[in-house]
Amino acid sequence: MEGWVALYIFMLAAFTGVEVISRVPSILHTPLMSGSNFIHGIVLVGAMVILGMADTSAEIIVGFIAVVLAAGNVVGGYVVTERMLEMFSSTGRKKE
């Protein structure tokens, strides 16, 4: 990928991130932080690629660790966010 294209992607993504969060009520800050924490779990994809093309044993070991950690990020992030949001939706129903 050309460097300039990457720079445009970074710039647009940064604005998107700020824009998406800027009007969030503070009651949702914790689930949101946890949710964004889950989303950077996309690092799992990179970790899988790294392990998939690892040749030497050092690369395999570090790649293996990367996949374990990233999978923890994904699954842990998802489960705790889901658990928190579940409570918010039940509160919402009670109010209606």
């Binding site: 990928m1 990457a6 992607i9 993504a13 940064a14 998107t16 991130g17 700020v18 998406v20 503070s26 009651i27 949702l28 800050h29 914790t30 689930p31 949101l32 949710g35 964004s36 924490n37 889950f38 989303i39 950077h40 779990g41 996309i42 690092v43 799992l44 994809v45 990179g46 970790a47 899988m48 690629v49 790294i50 392990l51 998939g52 093309m53 040749d55 570090v62 293996f64 990367a66 996949v67 374990v68 950690l69 999978a71 990020n73 994904v74 842990g76 992030g77 998802y78 489960v79 705790v80 966010t81 658990r83 928190m84 949001l85 409570m87 939706s89 039940s90 919402g92 009670k94 109010k95």
Partner: protein, 465 residues
Amino acid sequence: MTSALDFIIPAAYFIAAVMFIYGLKAMSSPVTARRGILWSGAAMLVAVLVTFVHPEVKGNYALMIVAIAIGSVAAWWTAKRVAMTDMPQMIALYNGMGGGAAAAIAGVELLKASSGAVTMDLATIILAVLGGIIGSIAFTGSLIAFAKLQGWMRKTWRFSGQQILNLLVFVTTVVLGAVLVVQGASTGVLIAFFAFALLAGLLITVPIGGADMPVVISLYNALTGLAVGFEGYVLQNPAMMIAGIVVGAAGSLLTQLMAKAMNRPLSNVLFAGFGKADEDAAGAAASGEMKSIDATDAAIQMAYAEKVIIIPGYGMAVAQAQHKIWELTELLTARGVKVSFAIHPVAGRMPGHMNVLLAEAGVPYDVIHDLEDINAQFPTTDVALVIGANDVVNPAARKDPSSPIHGMPILDADRAKNCIVIKRGQGTGFSGIENLLFFEENTRMLYGDAQKVAQALISGVKSLG
């Protein structure tokens, strides 16, 4: 076949990126939040599945599946069991794992470059190194944050010259990174680089006090996002770039909002800390004595009040008293008392943490108010009931210019006609700062575990018939 994959793989990553942004957007409103995480979850599933057929993935499939299974099962098992009060440290832990994974990716790529297996252009190697530094700091920093909030690490080590040591370690990390960029990676430098980067994360986080942890966790969340975005460039994976940078930017904004809520610049959180200042500032301004009250009298006072504001803090959360407090609220409301909840932006161990805990107890949103909404109401309030909150109601923030928290916006509980503080003992709170509120003329202390006290208050109100 290959040509089909050439289209399917980028298309799947693209769809995943769209769904991540949509999901994050949906998570920013309570009505659609649940849908948001489901969308993001589906996006993740698509991205992970398609990676199995990624052209660069040539082997190690069995190892991959084993590694995913280990990470997933361990995280699933812990995440299902953790209590809502302990949520912040688990979020820190999972975040740290993501940072560690990003750093490990940088490690393998630089290792490949050092053996000549891949060649990197300048931009790639710079971003690989940057992602390596940031990811490593987020990794060890988050682990320390976890250990502190979990109570495994109570001390905040401070010694003279600490900041100089931290600076030295950080500068050494950057210099080693620069060597990697200029000279190309060599295994020895690579190992030293990561050792120093990991050490920097430890050293930066160790002196930070518990009261500042919300900001720190949010900061490391943003850093992990950045690291993931940078490693996405290294691997030429736009989904990682987009998702990582979106989280990095969103997290930076959240961190800023929180630092603002505490009226402390971020540099202050990272490099100063409450603990140091309180030795000379705290206690000096506190005069008078704390006057205690028993639960029955407190119950009577509230039952015959017109307006009560409840200010929950972490002390309520650890005692798991939120359900009892809601029961008490319902009893009071039935008697015609107007009860509201006032929540400080940094109450709990994470921003919005208290809202999660109240949601768990079934408290509806419409009785919960933010600081800006409710502060004007305190002068007309009969009883402000403070439950295990400390710094967020400390009038020293307004009155005492020498206090380390001076200038921080607080809930004006001291302006209510009466203030009842539920607290376990006379000690200072998490930040170690003496609370002037406890010595005010109209404040009464109600000592005890928040759950037991709440039960006593419930019985007290019930006995009035």
